[in-house]
Every structure is written in structure tokens, then in C-alpha cells.
């Protein structure tokens, strides 16, 4: 029997500790994680970026549900631990689950501290700690105009900037004389304030909040000097308090935090604590770097490795607000024995100040240019003596040349301060695992995965390791940008970009008119985001979708008329035959998807043929819902259990002419013999006695993927609804040109399943789909036939 390890708190420190344990000895423990929030482990730091709409919630999830499964971790989520019995080693959760443990880690983090003033409980007063908080704020920013942030520290300023970006009128109220007073000296604090004012933030300095005003909802604040301010929302950001409620019900020693020794042990046997809830040597930390260091020590302890005692951490801070680069580390107070050297560049508006005690650098503040942050941090951590430097050379010793040249750095130089990853570790990973991009390095070493400020240095190390060659980091959607699909789409919504030209301009694509890869993609994302406002851009469509016909290898085209469900009739066949003869069509063929195709048609003949056929396009040229393949089913087949043809026709009729990130193929078979190969369709149905099995994510293309059983439903209507919901979900979250198999793999099958099987979400998606495609589902052939201008412009050839 494996020992049982239970982690309370599914946050950054706890889960990191588990990762470290799995790294060292994956089979040692049977692990259970108890979490209070409803999300899997995520990068809390990045909430600021979510609020500033630079990232989406799905982008900040660090360990999706599959990770728990893969590592056989039992996750009890959205169900906090409420009771702990350290004698019988048992934990009870809110819902009444009892979990016993052999070893227990407490990593319950902290809470936003709410000022104990009148009105603090009013709706509209929020903290900034969780995804839910962030989403609440985003929602409020749509409804209300004015916000006040109490507290001009790191979190408060990032929250304020986020709300400002959402178009709110934001005032920061701060008790002290300057901002971020624990990390910055007065000069840097004032420079920061000036820069933030330029960006549109307002400040009320040296103001003590006495009361929050309002009856049913916050309406304003009253200060101790008798003044007041109106507001619709208050963000409390005056500090955090360790979450120790659970520990306090036991004999575990709790001070400000849960008291631990150098090996993260509490006073109670087999109970450990890490993260913001822990107090070591009188210190409680509120940043990630120390928590990760603690996690490593604890992982050593729990896997029986010789652990180096934890000796406290040197911390550093930087602010995640663009245009305000600052860096602060160590001791930055000029108390006895500590002297400082400073330099201010009024032209470039940069400032640096270095704090020295007995020939050692003990602290640093940088404003405006933070490129030297890492260097000073390393000097600080290593307690290097600075005897050989004159004060001035200390300020400048890391001049431009030196700091930029990573090749000269020793291997133990820390590159990623959050995760404590040094150059040597990154170099080894690059060489051993053939890494070629910053994202790869982050994946394998975690460097760059927290605050992300060190990514450019990682890029330098990468370039150096790969022989100085500049690596084309394959992060962007094409060569014109480094942005990913999610970043682009997020910006499209945040900045309300409604045309390709705007996207290219606002998001600084290197090529102002894009390339064949990004143009159709951006056009698609805009169509999905703004179905009413965005006019489809024909010039961005690939020729097939611009002309509604597939281009062939000799520059001619194909014409494939729609036959819903693969069902045809003598009249259609006669028309097709007549047209083929009249226009000398070189090839008539039954296609792979049960339709009849005319191949080798000249462009000029397309509109005439369409007119004479008087049939709809099958859409075989498009990234869109394709025709539905069906078997004859219960109508004729002796095995058939359901009317597969009937359902196929209904599906096709309901969803034809809808654009999707890539082609979307469907098949309906009426029994498990699956004559139309439902198992390799994006959406495949197999009729069974009691209903319909639905398989999703099958692809029969370049990479064959078997579809996975989503569910079995009883009625045709459910099949049709689930299909529509999947279409819209794929449209909203898919990367252009990504088939459903990789899409599902990326999003996670369980997530897709949860969404599609939730009746409410399904209805929401269906409604969104109908709204988005309203008025956009006509037969494009008819539109061309009736529109002389388009016919003239696109389907004629000039002759002289």
C-alpha cells in the first residue's frame, strides 16, 4: 500500500510541491488534492493580465484536469476542507467527505484583507485574488462607470490598470506619500505615479478611508479628513492575510501564518505547510519565488532525499503594467549601516538606486529600464563583495554590453527569479531535449512560466545555446506576428477591432497586409466575433472560398451541387447530365462524400452552370459544415435501427453554409456496422436500438483520428442540438485551420464534454450560433448568379 499524501489548497505553492514530488518519485504516494475554488490549478499572477485582457482564463490554467488524471491524483475540487483531526489523521470537507492521510500539506494561501470599516460588506466591494474575483470585476466594468481601488501597492495598481483598460474611470486611494512604498523609494514611487497618471489613472494620496457609503450597493467613500468620493465599485487591495482558519481549529501552532521549521514541518507530526499560509522565521511571504523554494525543500523531505534547510528567500518585485517598468529587490530602506548610490536620467526618465551594507549590495530599485534587474538580483543573492568597484562603477558595472551578453554569464546565474531557474539548468534542458523555442523551455524547466518577465533573457540563452542563430519562435500564428490565436482573439474583443486592417495595425503585425496564412484566419475570427459589424473580406479568402469552387491543378474549377444526405433524384441527375454535356465538362465523378462532381470547369462558365443547374452548392470548397454522409438505414437495410438518411438530411439542412475553423464532416449510420464510417467523422452518429450514439473528433485526413464516444441520446432533436452547440464552441475557440481532433486535444475532451452535455450551455451556444449566422446562410451560387457586378469582377477574363 502506498502512503496517502493529502494536499489542502489547490493553488500555486501546493501544486508546485506536488510536481516536485512527482519529479523525484512519481510512485511514492497516493495523492489527494482538496481545493476550494472550482478551477484546476492556475497561475494566479496572471490574473492581472486577464483583467487587462491580455490573456484569457483558459490560457492561465497551468495544470488542466488531464494532468490530475495522468498522475492519478484524486482532485476534490470546489469543496473546501473544513475540519482536520490530527490525532486520527482525518480531514472533512464541506460536503462531508472524509479523507484520511499519512502525510498532509497545508497550502491554503491567503485572502485579500478587507478593511474593517462600515460598509465593507456592501455589494460592489471586492478583493482581487481569484478567477471569480477577476470575472466579477470584468462584469462590473461593463455595467458601471466609476471604480476606486484602495491601496497603491502591486496588486492595487495592476487592478486599477485593468479596470482603466476596461474603460472605467479609476481612482487609486493610498495611505502613504508614494506608491508601492514597501518596494520603492520616494523618487521611484513618484515617477511611477506620474507615468500612471499619463495613462489616465487618478490618485488620492495620503487618504485614510473611514467609511464605505451606500445602502444596497456601494455609492462612495468617506475619508478621515472629511472629504468623500463617489464610486460604483471598490477594490480592496491593502494587503493579504494568511489563510489559517483550518489550522487554528487544531493544535498546529499559528502565529501570523502557520509556523514551520527549516524543513516546512509544523509542530504536529506529518503535517507540513508551504506558501503564503506558512510563516518561517517570522516571515510570511507574498510572492511566488519563496514559495517555490519552499516547495523544493518539502519535496526533498517527503521523498526521503537529503534536504538543504530552507533559509528564507530574497524576493523581488516587478509590476505587470505596460509602460511602467520597475524592479525592486532586497532591502531598500536607508537605515543604519545601509548607504545608497543613485543615478537619475532625466532624458530617458530612468532611475536606479543601489543599497549597500558592508561592501555588499543588499537592495536595488530600478525604474524605467529594468534590463539589469536580473544581474543585481544575482549579486544580491550571492552576497558578492563589491570591494573592487567604486560607487560609480557599481552603478554602471553592468553596462549595456555586459548585461546583454548571456554567453559570459556563469551557469549558476539565476534567469527566472520566480522559479529559481539558473542558466545552467536551461542550457542542459535545451541541449538534452532539443528545445527550440521559449515556450518549450518554459514547458520543460518552468523558467518564464510565472510572471514572464524573463522571457526575453530566455530567448537570449536559447539563441546562444543554438549557436547564436536567431530562432523563429513558432508561437505566432504565422510569420507576420508573434501573437497566438488566443492573444489575437482576446485583443479583437478587448479593443473592439472590426476589420483586418485594424487588426494588422493595432496589433503591430510586421507585414501590414498579412500573408495567405493569417489573412483568412483573421477574417474568420472577425466573422465569429462581430457577425453583424464585420463585413466578410473577399480579398482575404482563399480562391476556393472567394469563387465558391475548388481550384484544380490546371487552374480550372470543380462544381459540386448539394444533395442533402447523399440523396438525389432523376430530375437532378438529368440536369447534371445536361450541363456536363453542354459545357464539355471533362470529368464527372462520384465524390468521396456521396455527391456528384463536375471537374475541369472554366472560371467563366461557373455562373452559367450554376444558373442552369439551379441547385445549391455542396460547400465542398470551404472550411465549413460539409455535406452529411448517410447510410440507407432503417428505410431499406435489414440491420438498420434508425432513419439515418432522414436525420442526415435534417442535420445538413439545419447547419449547411456555416463557416468553421476547418472543414466539419458528419456521418450518420443506422447501426454499429457503421457503413459511412461514423468513427472518423468530426461528428459521427451511430443509430442503436434505444437512440443515437454520438462520436466526436474523428478525422480521416492527413492524420487519422478515431472519434470518441461523447454520449448516447434518445431523440433526433438532441443529436441536432448537440451538433449545433459543438459547431459554435468550435467556432468560438478553434484555431483557424485546426481540425476538431487537435482542437479537442487542446481544449481537453472532458471540458468539451462538460460544455456540450450541460443543457444550459448547450442552449446558450445554440442561440449564439443562430444569431451569428443569421442572414449569412444563403446559397452563394445564387448570390453570384444574381449579382452582375460580382460576376463581372470575379468571373470574367478580359480579351484583347
Amino acid at each position: 500500500m502506498k502512503e496517502k499524501l493529502v494536499l489542502i489548497g489547490n493553488g500555486m505553492a501546493g501544486v508546485r510541491t506536488i510536481e516536485e514530488i512527482l519529479d523525484r518519485d512519481p510512485d511514492r504516494y497516493q495523492i489527494t488534492i482538496i481545493g476550494e475554488e472550482k478551477y484546476p490549478n492556475y497561475n494566479r499572477i496572471m490574473l492581472s493580465n486577464v483583467l487587462q485582457k491580455k490573456m484569457t482564463v483558459s490560457e492561465i490554467i497551468t495544470n488542466p484536469l488531464e494532468w490530475y488524471e495522468e498522475n492519478q491524483i484524486e482532485l476534490i475540487n470546489h469543496d473546501p476542507a473544513v475540519h482536520m483531526d490530527t490525532t486520527n489523521k482525518k480531514i472533512t470537507t464541506q460536503s462531508g467527505k472524509e479523507i484520511s492521510y499519512d502525510k498532509c500539506i497545508l497550502a491554503t494561501g491567503s485572502r485579500a484583507f478587507i478593511l474593517p470599516v462600515d460598509g465593507a460588506q456592501l455589494p460592489g466591494v471586492v478583493g482581487f485574488r481569484t478567477i471569480d474575483d477577476t470575472e466579477n470585476m470584468l462584469e462590473a466594468s461593463q455595467k458601471y462607470q466609476k471604480a476606486v481601488v484602495i491601496g497603491g501597492g502591486l496588486l492595487g495598481l495592476e487592478a486599477a490598470k485593468g479596470l482603466l483598460d476596461q474603460g472605467m474611470d479609476v481612482t487609486v486611494v493610498h495611505l502613504e506619500k508614494w506608491l508601492m512604498e514597501t518596494q520603492l523609494d520616494e523618487k521611484a514611487g513618484k515617477m511611477l505615479q506620474a507615468d500612471l497618471e499619463k495613462q489616465g489613472l487618478k490618485f488620492l494620496m495620503e487618504k485614510a478611508t473611514q467609511k464605505i457609503l451606500g445602502d444596497n450597493r456601494v455609492t462612495g467613500l468617506a475619508f478621515s479628513d472629511g472629504t468623500t468620493i463617489e464610486t460604483d465599485m471598490v477594490v480592496m487591495s491593502i494587503g493579504i492575510r494568511s489563510e489559517t482558519t483550518l489550522a487554528r481549529t487544531t493544535t498546529i501552532e499559528v502565529n501570523r501564518g502557520i509556523v514551520v521549521d527549516d524543513f516546512m514541518k509544523t509542530n504536529v507530526p506529518d503535517v507540513f505547510a508551504v506558501g503564503e499560509c506558512a510563516e518561517h522565521n517570522g516571515n510570511v511571504y507574498g510572492l511566488v519565488a519563496p514559495l517555490f523554494e519552499q516547495g523544493k525543500v518539502l519535496a526533498d523531505v517527503l521523498t526521503g532525499k537529503e534536504a538543504k534547510p530552507y533559509q528564507g528567500s530574497t524576493t523581488f518585485t516587478s509590476l505587470k503594467v505596460s509602460g511602467c517598468d520597475l524592479y525592486s529587490a532586497g532591502n531598500i530602506r536607508e537605515t543604519e549601516g545601509i548607504n545608497s548610490i543613485e543615478a537619475f536620467d532625466g532624458i530617458n526618465y530612468t532611475y536606479k538606486k543601489i543599497f549597500v551594507r558592508e561592501n555588499q549590495v543588499v537592495g536595488v530599485v530600478l525604474y524605467g529600464d529594468t534590463s539589469e534587474g536580473n544581474r543585481y538580483y544575482n549579486i544580491l543573492k550571492k552576497n558578492e563583495s563589491i570591494e573592487e568597484y567604486t560607487p560609480v562603477s557599481l552603478l554602471h558595472m553592468v553596462g549595456e554590453e555586459a548585461s546583454a551578453d548571456v554567453s559570459e554569464w556563469p551557469d549558476d546565474e539565476v534567469i527566472c527569479g520566480c522559479n529559481g531557474i539558473d542558466k545552467g539548468t536551461i542550457m542542459t534542458a535545451i541541449n538534452e531535449k532539443d528545445l527550440t523555442s521559449v515556450a518549450d523551455v518554459t514547458k520543460h524547466t518552468k523558467a518564464g512560466g510565472s510572471c514572464g518577465k524573463c522571457k526575453s533573457v530566455i530567448g537570449d540563452v536559447l539563441a546562444y545555446a543554438l549557436g547564436g542563430e536567431v530562432v523563429s519562435a513558432p508561437t505566432g500564428i504565422c510569420g507576420c506576428t508573434d501573437l497566438t490565436r488566443d492573444q489575437i482573439v482576446t485583443q479583437i474583443y478587448a479593443k473592439k477591432l472590426t476589420s483586418s486592417d485594424e487588426v494588422y495595425r493595432e496589433l503591430n503585425f510586421t507585414n501590414p497586409e498579412g500573408c495567405p496564412k493569417c489573412r483568412p484566419a483573421i477574417n474568420f475570427y472577425l466573422n465569429v466575433a462581430w457577425p453583424k459589424e464585420h463585413e466578410d473580406e473577399k480579398e482575404s479568402r482563399y480562391v476556393n472560398e472567394r469563387l465558391y469552387a475548388n481550384i484544380q491543378n490546371d487552374g480550372t474549377f470543380s462544381v459540386i451541387p448539394r444533395m442533402r444526405g447523399g440523396k438525389t433524384n432523376p430530375q437532378q441527375l438529368l440536369l447534371i447530365a445536361k450541363v456536363a454535356e453542354k459545357y464539355d465538362v471533362p470529368m464527372v465523378k462520384v465524390t468521396g462524400s456521396q455527391r456528384i462532381g463536375l471537374y475541369g470547369v472554366k472560371k467563366e462558365d461557373l455562373p452559367k452552370i450554376w444558373e442552369e443547374l439551379d441547385m445549391k452548392a455542396a460547400g465542398a470548397y470551404a472550411k465549413a459544415v460539409r455535406s452529411v454522409k448517410t447510410c440507407v438505414g432503417a428505410n431499406f437495410c435489414r440491420f438498420g435501427t434508425q432513419d439515418s438518411m432522414g436525420l442526415g438530411i435534417k442535420l445538413e439542412q439545419r447547419y449547411e453554409f456555416i463557416d468553421t475553423p476547418h472543414k466539419f464532416k458528419m456521418g450518420v449510420s443506422a447501426c454499429p456496422r457503421s457503413c459511412v464510417e461514423s468513427g472518423v467523422k468530426d461528428f459521427g452518429i451511430i443509430g442503436v436500438e434505444n437512440g443515437f450514439q454520438i462520436y466526436i473528433g474523428g478525422n480521416g485526413g492527413t492524420e487519422v483520428k478515431e472519434a470518441v464516444l461523447l454520449t448516447t441520446v434518445e431523440t433526433e432533436q438532441e443529436v441536432i442540438d448537440i451538433c449545433g452547440a459543438m459547431l459554435q464552441y468550435y467556432r468560438e475557440t478553434g484555431i483557424y485551420a485546426e481540425r476538431t481532433a487537435p482542437w479537442i486535444e487542446r481544449i481537453g475532451f472532458e471540458v468539451v464534454k462538460e460544455v456540450l452535455l450541460n443543457p444550459e450551455k448547450r442552449q446558450e451556444l445554440l442561440a449564439a450560433l443562430d444569431q451569428a449566422v443569421e442572414g449569412r446562410r444563403g446559397n452563394p451560387w445564387d448570390e453570384v448568379v444574381e449579382d452582375n457586378k460580382t460576376r463581372q469582377e470575379l468571373y470574367t477574363v478580359g480579351r484583347a
Binding site: 507585414n511 501590414p512 497586409e513 498579412g514 500573408c515 495567405p516 489573412r519 473577399k538 480579398e539 482575404s540 482563399y542 480562391v543 472567394r546 469563387l547 481550384i551 491543378n553 490546371d554 487552374g555 463581372q792 469582377e793 470575379l794 470574367t796 477574363v797 478580359g798 480579351r799 484583347a800
Partner: protein, 101 residues
Amino acid sequence: MEKILVGQLAELAPRMGKEIIVGEQKIAVFRLSDNRVKAIENVCPHKQGPLAEGTVSGEYVFCPLHDYKINLNDGQVQEPDEGCVRAYETIVEEDLVYVMV
């Protein structure tokens, strides 16, 4: 050289090509986003793809068949591919577009 009338500028859709056949020569005419007009041979040096159906970006067209990138000023195929097509001089006079053939 002959001055061949293509048509009115307004009849050319921006960033979409149009094929003109003059005797034996197939010519692709493009109106760029800044309304300049360019013309090159409409036969890709790779496998004869119709360049008029390609994606136009700035002063380049990408062949619809296999994505060769071709400069519309001089008909030069861009790296890493090789080759070139003939480029034709164009004239726009009072809203009328001509190609010199």
C-alpha cells in the same frame, strides 16, 4: 509595344486579380490597396498556377496552388523558391487602366 485597355479602375476589385488575354499572352492585373495597378504574366513558373487567383499582400502575390511568393513589380519569385515571370508596365489615365504589351 501596344497600349492595351484593361478597363476602368473601378471595375478592378482591390487586392483581387483579373486575367487578361492578349493574343497568346495571359496577363494577371492587380489593383493594390493603395490603388496602384500592377501586371505580371498569369502563369506561375512552378506549375503554371493562375496567379490572378492568388492572395495579394502589399506588392506581392502568393500563388493559389503552392504558395510561391512573387513580387508584382519585377515578377521575381521570392526566396526560398526560384524563378520569375514577366512583368508588364501599367498606365492609369483618367480612371482607365492600360497594360503595355
